[in-house]
Each structure stands twice: as structure tokens, then as C-alpha cells.
Symmetry: C2
Subunit: 231 residues, 2 copies
Amino acid sequence: MATDGPSNALKLEQLQRRLGYHFRDQDLLLLALSHRSVGTRNNERLEFLGDALVNFVVAEALFDRFPEVKEGVLSRLRATLVCRDGLAHLAHQFDIASCLLLGLGERKGGGRQRESILADALEAIVGAMIKDSSTTEAATVVAQWFAPEVAVIDESAGLDAKTRLQELLQAKGYLVPTYALLDTCGEDHALVFTVRCDIGEMAPATQGTGSSRRKAEQAAATTMLEQLARD
Amino acid sequence: MATDGPSNALKLEQLQRRLGYHFRDQDLLLLALSHRSVGTRNNERLEFLGDALVNFVVAEALFDRFPEVKEGVLSRLRATLVCRDGLAHLAHQFDIASCLLLGLGERKGGGRQRESILADALEAIVGAMIKDSSTTEAATVVAQWFAPEVAVIDESAGLDAKTRLQELLQAKGYLVPTYALLDTCGEDHALVFTVRCDIGEMAPATQGTGSSRRKAEQAAATTMLEQLARD
């Protein structure tokens, strides 16, 4: 817990209100909040279990929301929702950090705010809910957590900029973009590539730089997408 | 279906008996059995959904069966059960092949017996069960399918031979095995490596060959494990 004392029970109570789930067995919640830095009794096993349920619940939500899209798209959309950043985003909403149990080293090293620790704790909480009540109850709560994001997610979420640009242009009947390497400079171990992205007469060419040709192309495509969104 | 005619209904009936689940909506079962070679109305979306539930159900079964093992071990054990071969093994038990719906090309190309097609169809059947009844009902059936394998799986399942040999020797208090490259022969594009595995006085050294040093070491370790099992 962040601090010892009588406020801990209150903090846990508030956390459960935010989660939308009250634990019959508070020890299970504490275990879910225990990072491995506290010792061998930690949340790693619960995280394994919870991760599997989160992946299923989000898979089903996307399956129902997009009745026509192919499984490859469903897979990609799920990966954008159930990734470290996506989970940490939820963990921040619930302010899991305020109740995390960390070993001394992690506490001093800023572990309380580390995205991966928060994401893991959130999944562990799901595993703990399963064991506290049932898979069905836990799945209902998880579905509620993800509902707002599932409702607004776009089919192109998780696509890289080059792919999104290409799909956008093809949908409008335009030619695919071309990329040209304009320049490579810098030392051998720290090269900087500059690439131009050209989509013909529809819009001015854009440029992007990066530590690899691929990254520079993505940067140029991102700028092009931003330019097209402004027009 | 393998053949047209009045026997199809019977085949589907028998399949459902083997699966331990009877579909209220037979069209869902047919969709689950439809490989993508039959057209756009195929089982790929259902497979995505079913795969997620299978992974969860097996995760929970292993979590309960091994209350003490770490999540890394649970992960490895699940991967050995929920892999193409593991799923295809079950698909063979249920003789899913007899009811698969394949396009002409796949039928002629032996698709009916392809492990990946059978594994995918099994997962699609799980997805179809979810939509036919409920996640809870589908999960119960899937848990029954995997129960025999979960009951007998060993903590070392899925470990490579070198790791198993090392863990075996360490458990007995012996030194770790050493590997020595004895020979490399053959043309540059088809080298054959020969490696010796030595565990000291406990047993004679073994040899293994392979197209890489790593593979040769694994072969030598496998032979050593077999030798120790015989002793």
C-alpha cells in the first residue's frame, strides 16, 4: 500500500467502487495488487489467468460489434485494446497505482507509475475476480470496462501509417503512394534517413525522417495523413 | 460434407454426440465446419472467437491443477496443449474430418486431413457453441475435452531436451551437462554438425547430429535422456 494506516481499508474500498466489483475475499484483491517485488506471494499467476479472460471478453465484444470484418482485423483491433498501453490506460482510470503493493526497490524506482506493472495488476485483478466469484461475473465486469473503447474503435485502429494511407487512397480510387529516399546522413551508428512520400496531384508531397528507411517512410506517411485530414 | 445425400444429417448427429454438445442452430455448426476454401461464408471469424475461449479454459484448468507453479510454466504448458498438434489431436478424436466442408481444390489436395484445417475447425466449433448457447455452456464442454490431457500433463511438458536434461541432473544434484562440437562436414549450404553430450561418470557420453550446432546439441541431449530413462 502507498502508506500504512487506517486509510488503507478506505483506499481499497474506493478502488473496488471504481472497478465496479466488490471482493468477497479481500485477500484475493491484495494478492492481485502484489507485484513480484514484494516476494513469492505475488500476482503473476493471477495475471496469467486474468489475461486469458480479458483476451476472450474483448474478442467476443469485437466479434459482436463488427459482424462483417475478417478475423485478421478482429485480431488487430483486439491487440490495440489489450496491449500494455491499453490496459495501463484503464489502470490509470481506476487509480490502481494508489493501492499497489511494491517491494522497497520498486517503490523507490518509481514502479508505482510503470505502465507494465499497472497493466499486469489490472489483469491480475481480473484473475482474482474469477476466483472470488465466477468466470461469468468477472467477464461481465471486464466487458463493462472495455465497452466505451469497443464502442468507438475504428476498423483501421492499429494499422501503421503507410497501410492506412494506402487503404485511404485506394478507397478513393487514387494510385498508391510512392516513397523515395532523399538523403542519408550522420555517423554509421546513428544514421538519419529522409524520405519523401508522394501521392501525385492530390496533395503536396511530405517528408519524414527516422533512424531507418522504414521509420522515415512511416513518418512521411503520418505527415501525409495529417495533411489529408486537415484538407 | 464428404458425400452428399441423406447420410449427412446422420454424420452431423454423430459428430455432435462425440463433441458432447448438440447445436440448437445446426447452421452455426455448418458454418464452423466451413473452411475458407468454400467461400466468404466460412469459419474464420468463429475460429478467432473459439481460440480465445479455448485459451482461457485451458489456462484456468492448469491454474487449478498446478496451484504452486509459476506463470511462465503455466504459459508453456498451455502452449503445448493449445497448439496446432494438440488441437488436431482432439479433432481426430472427434473425427471432424468426416464432416468438414471444403472447396474443390482443398478436397483434391487432401485438405480434409490437414492438421491446421482440423485444428481451426475445432476452434470454430467452440466459437459456434458460444453463439449457439452461452460462454458458460461452451466453456464447460471445452473443459471436458481437455480434462484428460490436463490431468496427465507433466510440469516439464514443452521443455526442449537440453533444458529437461539440465533440470533432471540439477534435481539429482549432478553437474550440468557439457556439449562439445566434434565435427562439421558437408557443403557450405548443407553442413552437418556432430556434438557430444557429456554428463560425467553417471552415464556414457552421447552424440547427436543436426543441420545446426543447436539442433545437434538437442539431438545429443535427447539421446542422453533416453539412455537415462532406460537405466
